[in-house]
């Protein structure tokens, strides 16, 4: 068990995913010759780079995609990998960081909406375990939901980690340079996270307020085929609008 850091420490830590394993969320959105391929999965950053091309080839073959996809997939994975690695040497702030994680995703026909708090300090956390338990508890039959949930969590954690790197850098600069703005910056750095003390300061119990119950309750909805079709067409239109 790692000793818990003191509550108010802002000791910087080397960048990593705040989970038990350094798994990176990879999102693919490739369009080649009118065919669009979207995917999202977790990737183990410590695996050798040869795996990238193997995986890309495999995916392309299994899904019977045209050959051009393989290279594109490999490229995309590699860019995201290098991006992750670029953060590697950096430091990020840890501290009292309980962040709300929101799930709002649709996988095939299942719609999931949820929100919960996640401890960024806990480097033993495991989104995969969470996702498995989530699906089991809610009786989700579609097996594709699990990975999607885990991916969503990881993505958000990744974003937060990146942000914390940025704030760490800023605060370092601030420390070095302008002392005056230090306090405002430091308060900004903790803005993304909820301070535990603040959260529980005005209560005598740990129970949430009633009006927040709905927000924090997981909601799983099964869509019918028409709804799915409707949603997808909406997404398409939105995307076309964006591109136009």
């Amino acid at each position: 068990m790692k000793p818990l850091p003191s509550t108010s420490s802002k000791t910087p830590v080397k960048f990593r995913m705040p989970t038990s394993e350094n798994l990176v969320p990879i999102r693919l959105d490739i369009e080649v010759g009118g065919q669009r391929f979207k995917d999202a999965f977790t990737w183990n950053i410590s695996d050798p780079d040869s795996e990238v091309s193997v995986f890309a080839k495999r995916t392309q073959k299994d899904l019977k995609l045209p050959l051009a996809f393989a290279t594109q997939i490999a490229q995309s994975i590699q860019t995201q990998q290098t991006e992750f690695r670029s953060y590697k040497g950096q430091e990020m702030l840890t501290g009292e960081k309980i962040v709300p994680i929101k799930l709002d995703l649709r996988v095939n026909r299942t719609l999931i909406k949820d929100q919960f708090l996640w401890d960024l300090n806990n480097f033993d956390s495991d989104p995969e375990e969470f996702s498995k338990t989530f699906c089991n508890d809610l009786g989700i039959e579609d097996p594709e939901v699990g990975p999607a949930v885990a991916f969503a969590i990881r993505e958000q954690l990744y974003e937060i980690a990146i942000q914390s790197v940025a704030t760490a850098r800023e605060s370092r600069n601030a420390k070095k340079g302008r002392r005056g703005e230090y306090s405002s910056i430091s308060s900004r750095s903790t803005g993304a996270a909820l301070d535990l003390m603040k959260l529980f300061s005005n209560r005598y119990s740990g129970v949430r307020k009633r009006k927040e119950w709905d927000v924090f309750e997981p909601m799983v909805d099964m869509l019918s085929n028409e709804e799915v079709a409707a949603l997808e067409s909406m997404v398409e239109k939105w995307r076309d609008l964006e591109e136009a």
């Binding site: 038990s20 394993e21 977790t42 990737w43 899904l63 498995k132 097996p143 990975p147």
Partner: protein, 608 residues
């Protein structure tokens, strides 16, 4: 190895009862015509190369692992009590010699369980799962040493997400997912979309399971013994999913056929069509009539087994091949017969189709070449001229059975040799000059020994080859005892046996077949059968006699030893007596000496 041979022998038997090789061959063999022999060979070489390569398809039905067989018998000995998942899908592990690809079979982390049972009614497919015998260590409840060895990164705690629990989760999910639909191959992408883990771990486990045949292993896919089956299955798989559009990475096999008509919708195939030349129809021919058994060869075997029992008439199995052509539309719709699956079809591009049917001349050339060159298809192709070796093989397979090619001059020196062989067997009579060329499609079976055996036995004729092989087998089995086989030789009258017993094991069968007699005429089948049974009886008698003689010999030796022992004892007694006497005399002499001395003294006293 002993286990494997035992099982192989069982396969030779292929019977409802578990009889051994020697006894079983005849009853299957009581067919007189080459077509049936061909059928037998089809079975035989189908199995034998498969024994070396992969478990054969027909075993699936024959070795129906009854659901009565307790799962405990199948799982490796390290099974723990919570192995319930195995109770519902009973695992059939058709025993086979180690497969080519897998070196770790030598590991013997758990002994291969001989799982073959007598054929019983086939359980429904939902209960049956096939895995190759080299993977029988696998169990859903455990992690075995083999897995630890092959995927060490999950077990060395180097990375926290790769731990045994995660491994088990991934492995079990993949296997369960595959088993939900065992007839279709599961792809890695399907799997990884449904598993909560990082994709590389999933891929490693998937590849491992694939390599060991625990997933994506269906005996149906092992139907073709031809050498290029991998390419075919790959191309057919590719073709299967992109029927109309251009398939980017499959090379359509070039076939030579004429205009193609779709089998089901009867329209001319336009862009592409799918052909299956799977040999899968079997018809059995009773003396009374012809019954056709449609379906897979596996069904045919069951039919054979059952028919064999039900009638004293003989069952001739004639296997036809079924050449189906479907246009793209019908293929996609799935308009094919029961017993075929989409993987059996090969995509054929109409635009690429070249010529036409084989002319008579070409066929003759092909047969000639096959006679001369046997297995060497390149030479055959050269001889035929204008056809590639693959075309030759394809066409060869397709040639109808029972064709007779009269002139023996075509067949070269080997047949002449056969013709000249003497025969004092009461089975055979003079050789018939007209040979029937049994065209076995096995000449290009992957196992070279079997291919040769098949080919040569096709030349020699059924009964001859059968008797010769039978004799060779008995000779080979007795060779270990080092006894001369004079009796057997005379009994069987198969001259080749002499050679068989002299030469090494491996070539024994071949030689005996080569030099066996020619032309056992297709006599009435019963007589042959009876004769052969008589032969077996004689063989058994001879063996019994040998054993009796041995016993007598041992008894003699025994009695002799006893005699010698008795003699020894007597001699010992005599020696003892002698010693005793010696001692007595000694004492007596001493005493008398003393007395004499005393006497002298007393006398001296008297004197003085």
């Amino acid at each position: 190895v002993a286990l494997a041979t035992k099982q192989r022998q069982w396969y030779f038997g292929l019977s409802v009862n578990e009889r051994t090789v020697v006894h079983q061959w005849p009853s299957f063999f009581s067919f007189g015509s080459p077509s049936t022999f061909w059928a037998f060979l089809w079975k035989y070489s189908f199995i034998i190369p498969s024994v070396f390569a992969r478990p054969p398809k027909n075993l699936r039905n024959l070795t129906a692992m009854a659901s009565t067989e307790p799962p405990a018998a199948v799982t490796p000995p390290s099974s723990k009590p919570n192995l319930l998942p195995l109770a519902s899908p009973t695992i059939i592990t058709p025993s086979a010699a180690a497969s080519v690809a897998v070196a770790p079979t030598a590991s013997s982390s758990s002994p291969a369980t001989p799982s073959v049972a007598t054929p019983r009614p086939i359980p429904s497919d939902a209960e049956v799962v096939h895995i190759p015998s080299y993977s029988c260590w696998f169990s859903l409840g455990d992690i075995s040493e083999c897995e630890i060895r092959c995927l060490p990164e999950f077990f060395d705690s180097r990375s926290p997400s790769r731990n045994p629990k995660a491994y088990k989760y991934i492995r079990d999910s993949i296997v369960k997912q595959f088993r939900r639909n065992p007839s279709s191959k599961i792809t890695f992408t399907e799997v990884r979309k449904t598993l909560v883990a990082d994709v590389i771990s999933i891929r490693k486990v998937f590849d491992f399971l694939d390599a060991w045949g625990l997933i994506n292993y269906s005996p149906a896919a092992l139907n073709k013994p031809l050498k290029w089956e991998d390419k075919d299955s790959k191309s057919s798989q590719h073709a299967a999913d992109s029927p109309a559009g251009p398939s980017l990475d499959s090379t359509p096999p070039v076939r030579e056929t004429s205009k193609r008509l779709c089998g089901s919708c009867k329209s001319v195939c336009s862009i592409a069509c799918f052909a299956s030349d799977k040999v899968n129809l079997a018809s059995s021919f009773h003396c009374n009539g012809i019954h056709t058994i449609k379906g897979n060869p596996s069904a045919a075997f069951c039919a054979i087994a059952s028919l064999e029992h039900c009638s004293t008439n003989l069952v001739l199995i004639v296997l036809n091949q079924y050449d189906i052509t479907l246009c793209a539309r019908c293929f996609v719709r799935g308009n094919y017969r029961v017993g075929l699956s989409s993987s059996d079809f090969k995509r054929v591009e109409i635009s690429d189709e070249m010529k036409t049917d084989w002319t008579e001349k070409e066929t003759l050339q092909l047969l000639e070449a096959v006679m001369h060159y046997g297995d060497d298809w390149k030479k055959v192709a050269q001889h035929v001229g204008g056809r590639s070796d693959k075309d030759c093989i394809t066409h060869f397979i397709k040639l109808p059975m029972g064709e007779q090619f009269a002139s023996s001059a075509e067949f070269g020196s080997s047949i002449n040799k056969l013709n000249q062989m003497k025969d004092d067997n009461n089975i055979s009579s003079s050789s018939s000059p007209s040979k029937r060329l049994c065209l076995s499609p096995l000449a290009d079976a992957s196992n070279p020994i079997m291919a040769q055996a098949a080919f040569l036995s096709a030349l020699a004729g059924t009964g001859v080859a059968e008797a010769a092989a039978q004799a060779a087998v008995t000779a080979v089995s007795e060779m270990g005892q080092g006894e001369p086989k004079a009796d057997i030789r005379s009994l069987h009258g198969v001259q080749g046996l002499q050679d068989a017993s002299i030469t090494s094991n491996g070539s024994g069968i071949l030689k005996s077949v080569e030099e066996a007699h020619s032309g056992v005429n297709p006599k009435p089948e019963e007589k042959e059968k009876v004769n052969v049974e008589e032969e077996i009886r004689r063989v058994a008698e001879v063996q019994m006699k040998q054993i009796q003689e041995k016993i007598i010999h041992f008894e003699e030796v025994d009695s002799q030893i006893e005699k010698e022992w008795k003699q020894m004892e007597q001699m010992r007694d005599i020696l003892f007596y002698d010693q005793l006497n010696l001692l007595k005399h000694e004492r007596a002499i001493r005493k008398s000496g003393q007395q004499a001395a005393e006497g002298v003294r007393t006398q001296g006293d008297y004197v003085s």
